[in-house]
Symmetry: C2
């Protein structure tokens, strides 16, 4: 029998950590639904051929899947490595029955065989939202996603956050306007700014054939950052003109203005954001935790003019992906998140002796009917031992069935009061486990 | 590029079906938590060696997993085919930090490469609860699980259900008491009663060396069924005695009596229930939908004295597993479940013209802050077209921003009234999509 051991990159949580994860997932789902996104789930596997056609050096990170009993050695299927590839396939497969524009959210695990490190896992949960339409998709959708991200993060116990946005048309138009021909390569190089710094990026740009003036212009553009539409004037001052640049400035200004009205202080136009992926064509999004910028981006996304295409019809989309396992891994790693208990029970119903267990079960049933999570003590031990059972799990209340009227004890304060299972209710703050940032 | 097509046995739902699935999963989770079970999730893969040591001809159904880039051809990992094997491993791995008795629930996908058919899938979701303890586990836990199952199914829109229970000690003791030596083989044969009938089972038992009298006794025992403890007297009348039989009768009577008090009419002792799996050692459970007995059991479980063991310590447990994808597959297949809409939105906020989109977004934000899921119309089309957008998705209300005071229209009745986004609230029945059995 194989040794019992963790598998690197496949995190598993303790029951208390799982309560934290569930709270995050509940917040995400509730917020996505408030914004009218419908849930779908896709199968975990896709044809290897579909997965490996996505570029991005994804091939070598794909986990192949095949029945051990099947002859041959080649895997026909692979575990999906993100939720975008399966979503694009789902849209094409169900185009005849879906209502477009289609607003969907998807919260599922993905698998990627890359080298595990803090915040990067081989099995991980992502929470994606996208809007996809047929043929064309209005730019106003691009202004909507920061509002959703902000609503989610405002409910997380993670402190302050900042959404950084840019626009690919703005970058492409600017680059074209100064005579750069390989726009994609320039994008990918500028995207390294945070990692390698301005001097190294400048050297790379020159190496790739840009003139000193072009490289300087790229870097000056990348330095522009503003929480309002003043970035438009700053770009104009660089003296570059191009129709695509105009479109990008207009769209990005709309995103910034909607954000200023609805989520003041939570979004900046940051013109160095490029996001490496080829398929973005409009607004691009990143999100950081303030004070934890070294953790990098925990939400990514953007607009793509061809999420999917069947050759005849093209489906443009815009979306973002929240790296749930990444956020939790970083916060757990920093010891920053805790749940007030490791079980859902708010009450332990004590058992006086085993012959009266049915009475304790009846009390638990009455509490559950009223929405109060509880459990019955495993044994009619001395009360001190039953209280320790509750204490070790963080269950705040122990219920004592008594012939002269039940009593309930708050084991944190020691307060004990008369209580009726048909009437008693815990304080709202105790009903569910509390999830908080350590030190809060 | 591979053809876009479903993969047999890997079901995917429409957004409306997914709303039904979510409702089922929400009911299950809420009920499990009311009963004090804590959630865990385990990684999707286990060492192949651990999976394939579970007997049950499981080997050939295992999906092996390996990085396409890794050399060699043998898969070291496999996707788990149930939640019991990973849970047992999780208990051993975390025995030092878990609090025992440990009440856990786990709602996850599993994968099994068997031949797909209605109600049987290759990727499927199960919802498991178990209590596991160290060394010994009191029998009273066996009486608890039917209460949880009944609480779950009472909240499902699936009509009436019946929980059938038996006890392995009762069967083993009875068989031993009439001189049968191969108890496991007899259990497995009697377990075929529903499939092949009494005559065929009798023939098989004789073939396996039982005498006429032994076979008849087995079949008479299997005919006993009672909603109360009267089954004890019926068994006694068969004149068999054995200490293990006594224990089984006592434990099963306790299960039946607790059920009679808490969930009258929902549980019967059915002495033909055996459940084929070797590892059950006490109470065994099955559940059927009344009127849909041909669908077989949709919940299975039981008591096992050795859920896990590290050689020194043994961890006995008791648990049940709800076949979520199985239930949904059968009910969807029969066309019996529907959601009232395909999106979470209860309101579509109309847009008068694109220059006033920000006003519509502000209304949506106000509604969301008050917990009302909504979305803004994609285009400032004619109102008829915007209403059709809502209608096609089943969104019941359309909100019209107006300079002289907003109005909201119930597009089912045509009623239109003045409304303030800071005050208006939909009827409780409209806030979430309704999930109902067709014809209800």
């Amino acid at each position: 029998m194989s040794k019992i051991a963790p598998i690197s990159g496949f995190p598993e949580y303790s029951p208390a950590q799982r309560i934290v994860e569930q709270r995050f997932l509940d917040v995400i789902r509730e917020t996505f639904e408030l914004h009218g996104f419908a849930s779908i789930e896709t199968r975990s596997i896709e044809p290897v051929e579909r997965l490996s056609s996505q570029g991005e050096d994804a091939d070598k990170e794909i986990y192949g899947v095949r029945r051990l009993a099947d002859p041959g050695t080649d895997a026909k299927w692979g575990l999906h490595f993100d939720l975008t590839v399966p979503f694009a396939r789902y849209v094409l497969e169900n185009a005849g029955t879906l209502e477009f524009p289609f607003r969907r959210y998807q919260i599922q695990k993905s698998w990627r065989g890359e080298r595990p490190q803090e915040g990067r896992y081989r099995e991980f949960t992502q929470a994606d939202i996208d809007v996809v339409d047929v043929g064309t998709l209005p730019a106003h959708y691009e202004a909507e996603f920061p509002l959703v991200i902000a609503d989610v993060f405002a409910k997380f116990p993670v402190g302050d956050f900042i959404i950084r946005v840019n626009n690919r048309k703005l970058l492409s138009g600017f680059y074209a306007g100064i005579g750069i021909t390989d726009v994609q390569e320039t994008l990918r190089t500028v995207d390294k700014l945070d990692k390698i710094g301005a001097e190294a990026v400048r050297a790379l740009l020159l190496e790739r054939g840009l003139t000193d003036e072009q490289a300087d212009a790229c870097l000056r553009l990348a330095q522009i950052e503003a929480a309002d539409a003043s970035f438009v004037e700053q770009v104009r001052l660089l003296g570059v003109t191009h129709p695509l640049l105009d479109e990008g400035l207009r769209d990005l200004a709309q995103v910034v203005e909607i954000a200023a009205a609805h989520i003041p202080g939570k979004l900046v136009a940051d013109l160095k954001i490029a996001r490496g992926l080829d398929y973005y064509t409009g607004t691009v999004y990143e999100t950081q935790l303030v004070g934890r910028e070294e953790w990098g981006t925990i939400v990514g996304g953007g607009r793509y003019d061809a999420l999917a295409s069947d050759g005849k019809t093209t489906y443009p989309g815009v979306g973002v992906s929240i790296g749930v396992t990444r956020i939790l891994g970083l916060l757990f790693g920093a010891g920053e998140l805790a749940a007030s208990r490791s079980v859902p029970s708010v009450v332990l119903v004590a058992v006086n002796d085993e012959s009266h267990r049915a009475g304790s079960t009846a009390i638990a049933t009455a509490l559950r009917r009223r929405g109060i999570p509880c459990e019955v003590a495993p044994k009619a031990d001395k009360f001190g031992k039953q209280i320790r059972y509750a204490d070790r799990r963080g269950i705040p209340y122990v219920w004592f069935p008594r012939d002269d009227g039940d009593q309930v004890k708050d084991i944190r304060s020691g307060d004990q009061v008369a209580a009726d299972p048909a009437v008693w209710f815990p304080p709202a703050g105790d009903l569910r486990p509390q999830v908080s940032r350590s030190g809060d």
